[in-house]
Symmetry: C2
């Protein structure tokens, strides 16, 4: 039953995402629809909907624009990330900048950011404050990552700050606003926010591990992209530095060699342990919530994030 409600909610989110990018400026609409239609896990809007239901919300329509806005922030940053990373494929599709060129990709990303704002505008101020804050943190996280990659200086502490801001903050915002829209009490809102924040950390660590050990066909994107950008494995001690040195040493396909080295170094096992640790924190946060099908779904989500292969 709750699965069906979530599914219908996600379909409504999908429709809203497609409707909101409509424009008489063809390239913006085409590029917007291209990235939206290329799919994605839609984890963030799912969190908005589930938090709303777990907090006792009865009218899922209330969380749809917010959940769509959360996914749109993520989508906008993907378009800009792909410019900065020179990525040619994403989710098994050509990237916006590969297809439409850098200028239009930059503008398409900006356009999607304005659509976040349009989706959120009808909500009261406190929601817009949360969304603005999460979006700022996301951009800060991306910037810290680019700066650390450039400096070749990515220790564990820096890595944690980066994934907290670039990923966990938006997860947290989705659940927090979902709970608020259900008029949940302060304690329940915090529990759901802590759950989502830690789920975000777990998700990102697993994502970075998959960049090293994943199967490119299953992932729908090349592996080693993050490594090539000097990031991703940085949950490990001095991982970033090791990467740089490895690249400097090796001339023949350094990324493949380095990935092999990392697989053998034990770095992945350490990262995996950290993912398990943040997953425990997510699970613990849920224990204060009343039992409900939505809570069970949220528990299942932790396992899915931990076990995913793509």
């Amino acid at each position: 039953m709750v699965k069906k409600i979530v599914q219908e909610g996600l379909e409504a989110v999908e429709k809203q995402l497609r409707d909101i990018v409509k424009s008489d400026v063809d390239v913006l609409q085409d590029a917007g629809l291209h990235i939206i239609r290329s799919g994605g896990k839609r984890l963030r809007p799912q969190l908005g909907i589930l938090a709303y239901l777990a907090a006792g919300g009865q009218d899922v329509a209330r969380v749809i624009p917010m959940s769509a806005a959360i996914e749109m922030v993520h989508t906008a940053t993907l378009v800009h990330d792909d410019i900065n990373d020179h990525s040619m494929t994403r989710r098994g599709q050509i990237t916006v900048h590969a297809r439409w060129g850098r200028t239009f990709a930059l503008l398409a990303g900006d356009y999607l950011f304005t659509k976040v704002y349009e989706l959120m505008a009808p909500y009261p101020s406190e929601y817009n404050v949360i969304m603005a804050d999460a979006t700022t943190k996301l951009v800060e996280g991306e910037t810290l990552q680019a700066a650390a990659a450039k400096a070749g200086n990515m220790d564990r502490e820096t890595y944690k700050t980066i994934i907290s801001r670039k990923t966990a903050s938006l997860f947290e915002a989705a659940a927090r606003m979902g709970a608020m829209l259900a008029d949940a009490g302060e304690e329940m809102i915090e529990a759901l926010a802590i759950y989502a924040y830690n789920l975000g950390l777990t998700f990102q660590i697993v994502d970075d591990i998959l960049d090293i050990v994943g199967d490119p066909d299953t992932l729908g994107k090349p592996v080693g992209t993050d490594i090539a950008q000097n990031r991703g494995v940085m949950a490990t001690q001095n991982g970033g530095l090791a990467v740089q040195e490895a690249v400097a040493e090796l001339e023949d396909d350094p990324i493949a060699r380095m990935m092999a080295n990392l697989r053998e170094s034990g770095a992945i096992e350490i990262a995996r342990m950290q993912a398990e640790e943040t997953a425990v924190r997510a699970r613990n946060a849920l224990t204060t919530l009343p039992l409900s099908p939505a809570r069970t779904e949220m528990e299942n989500l932790i396992e899915m994030v931990l076990d995913r292969q793509n």
Copy 2:
């Protein structure tokens, strides 16, 4: 007296712009402060303040965050524009992308967009709807411009659509929200919105003329940049096409030659007439307002925009 109030208001806007870009992520704060400190005419926040005063507003503090947000939208787009145009200087200063590189410039522009949102979040929904709409129009206008420049297809109608969206919409939003914050009636809000919209058109046409005939030292930026991007003179009949052909014909400093051609073609006189026409519309819109020092300032602003040399 009103000049002093506006001046103090603009100083408050300036302070807010500088305060809001503070971040522990150095490059975002540094790049943000760099572009803000490089100045600019601050016409848009001035419009927000003047519309508020003309509509009888008594507490200028109410319009400061909104006016700062309006200027921040403009500032964010400048950072991204300079990436797309490969501009090295702006307002006599090095551009963000020339100094920090493309990746950080893209992120810094995104960061400034999130700060728009942060500044506006405390205002009620209707203001956020107006701001989101104006920001979307701006990005659409920029995109239409890039598309027309690429296609070498910039007729007068397209040019009008472009300047309406990329410039006039934000001018209009500033005045509209200023009037609303003063609790003005519908008629007064519309009059101020029409004034600002037409002032925006006038400003942009004059700006495009200055790109051709202006003195680079006075302007603080090289002239001919817009021409080189196949835009700017497009208020003239087939101006864009003429530009393309001219570039194709001339091998030795085509831009200088083309600018000379344009100066001699009568195109600038036609553009000038259009600027005078939109200025008349701006002036007429003000006639329905009660006489006030703020209204007089707004009238003066039209002349300043028409007569400016930089």
